[in-house]
């Protein structure tokens, strides 16, 4: 469970996140939606510790992230897997080296055990026999899946996905969504997804947080979304041609 209490963040005196409080439950797919520039990417970067909040606290299963204590932050981060919008794969390393990297850094596994784990993760994301390929040789969808494989290489507790469907065709998008849903259930992790894709919201979302102008504007389940009388949320949904 990840809990945010009155988290705020400003850049150059412009407040981009204002007193955001919410809870992301374990085992659920939590979606953060909102227009571009609404502050959802900043919220995700705060949660993974890439940015420091001006006020408020972020706690991971009751462990409050102390941004002044690098070692403590690092301990929490080791439970985090993240799929970046641009995948952030190491371009000069092969697929196998990318997935093997966290295993080499944080486990005492020998080479064969690491290779087994790499192959397991690749199989889990429906990719096999691409170990020696480099990111530049992969399609957008394959890169995203390798990104997920790298994120789950270690036994993570929290999975963050920043725009996992951006730049993908509708079929590959659904494939990625299904994969995230399966992994969340299988590994019993807390998943948080930043997205604009309303199809994702209705397909896999358990808990939806709508960010508007830096504020948590609305929160509820996917069944509540359509029935909500929140004007800004309805405007966002109508623009997506979903309802």
């Amino acid at each position: 469970m990840i809990e945010l209490k009155e988290v705020s963040k400003s850049f150059n005196n412009k407040e981009v996140l204002k007193q955001v409080s919410t809870v992301f439950e374990t085992g659920k797919i939590n979606l953060v939606i909102g227009a571009s520039g609404s502050g959802k990417s900043v919220l995700m970067r705060l949660m993974v510790g890439l940015l420091k909040p001006d006020t408020g606290t972020i706690s991971y299963d009751k462990r409050i992230m102390d941004f002044t204590d690098y070692d403590q932050t690092r301990e929490i981060r080791r439970d985090i897997g993240m799929l970046f919008q641009g995948t952030a794969l190491f371009n000069s390393s092969s697929v196998q080296e990318n997935i093997e990297f966290p295993l080499k850094m944080f486990t005492t596994m020998n080479k064969e055990e690491r290779l087994d784990r790499v192959n397991f993760c690749l199989k889990r994301v429906n990719l096999e026999n691409i170990n020696q390929k480099f990111p530049a040789e992969l399609s957008g969808g394959m890169k995203k899946r390798v990104g997920i494989a790298r994120a789950i290489a270690l036994d993570i507790k929290y999975l963050f996905c920043d725009e996992p469907n951006s730049g993908l065709d509708p079929i590959t998008s659904r494939l990625i969504d299904d994969l995230i849903k399966e992994i969340t259930a299988e590994f019993k992790i807390t998943t948080i997804i930043n997205t604009h894709d309303m199809k994702t919201v209705f397909d896999i979302g358990d808990n939806i947080v709508f960010i508007y102008d830096g504020l948590k504007w609305w929160e509820g389940s996917k069944s509540d979304v359509k029935n909500s009388n929140n004007d800004e949320l309805q405007l966002f949904l109508n623009a997506s041609y979903i309802i």
Binding site: V48, G49, L50, Y70, R74, E75, I76, R77, R78, I80, M82, F84, Q85, G86, A88, L89, F90, N91, F101, P102, K104, M105, F106, F160
Partner: protein
């Protein structure tokens, strides 16, 4: 104001990387990889500039020291001292600031804009320590070695140029070089090499690591890395000369 902000940021950047490595074997592996990139890959350019540097200094010194009362071995003396004190460390490192500095800044800058640095941080790895510290350590090892090679090759270039142009024989050159040699000169050269090695690797890493934007900004960081490294090399050259000589 901007200078103090950047300088403070640079110091904090240096402080941030001095943490215990996650895995010692991976850390040493990275140091060896960087030693190849900084040292071995720079050898061809160092060989080229050193030989010509020595040859040109010999010919020009001979041109300036034409006198019946000045022994020819003086040319070897002048070339040897100027090579060790100034030319080999400073000129070599200015060239390395261009080659190594731009390589480091563009590598780190590209990793930054591709979110690879963020990916390392999210994994719980100190990205500055993991990416930059091996470069600085490698620079401190390899750049002094390159400077020693440069001194040797410059003198060799001087001997060849003197001999084949008929200005002075190899034995006259070596006699002059040996007469003027004191160990302190080599100490000054190595002090300079260590200082420049640190400047090139740390300043270039700083500019690459804090790149923001896209491909254009990576190019800008690379340019800044070379310019700032070169200016700091020249500045520290003067300071070291004042302090040591």
């Amino acid at each position: 104001m901007s200078f103090f902000y950047q300088f403070g940021r640079y110091l904090l950047f240096l402080r941030s990387m001095f943490t215990k490595p996650e895995k010692t074997n991976i850390f040493f592996e990275r140091i060896f990889t960087e030693m190849v990139a900084i040292g071995i890959d720079s050898l061809p350019i160092v060989i080229l500039i050193s030989v010509f540097q020595g040859a040109v200094t010999t010919v020009q010194s001979a041109y300036q020291l034409v006198s019946a009362i000045i022994p020819k071995s003086t040319i070897g003396m002048v070339v040897s001292d100027s090579t060790m004190l100034e030319l080999a460390p400073t000129i070599t490192c200015l060239v390395l600031a261009g080659k190594v500095g731009s390589h480091i800044a563009s590598e780190l800058g590209t990793m930054r804009i591709n979110e690879e640095v963020d990916a390392l941080e999210v994994m719980g790895i100190n990205s500055a320590s993991f990416l930059v510290l091996p470069k600085i350590i490698s620079g401190l090892i390899m750049i002094p070695l390159l400077v020693i090679i440069s001194i040797f090759l410059s003198l060799l270039g001087g001997i060849f140029a003197g001999h084949y142009s008929g200005l002075l024989s190899a034995s006259e050159f070596i006699k002059g070089a040996r007469e003027s040699f004191i160990f302190f000169t080599l100490q000054v050269a190595l002090t300079k090499a260590f200082t420049y090695g640190f400047i090139i690797t740390s300043v270039s890493s700083f500019h690459g690591y804090y790149t923001q934007g896209g491909a254009l900004e990576v190019g800008e960081s690379s340019t800044k890395a070379v310019v700032y490294s070169s200016v700091l090399i020249l500045l520290s050259d003067y300071l070291l000369a004042e302090l040591l000589l």
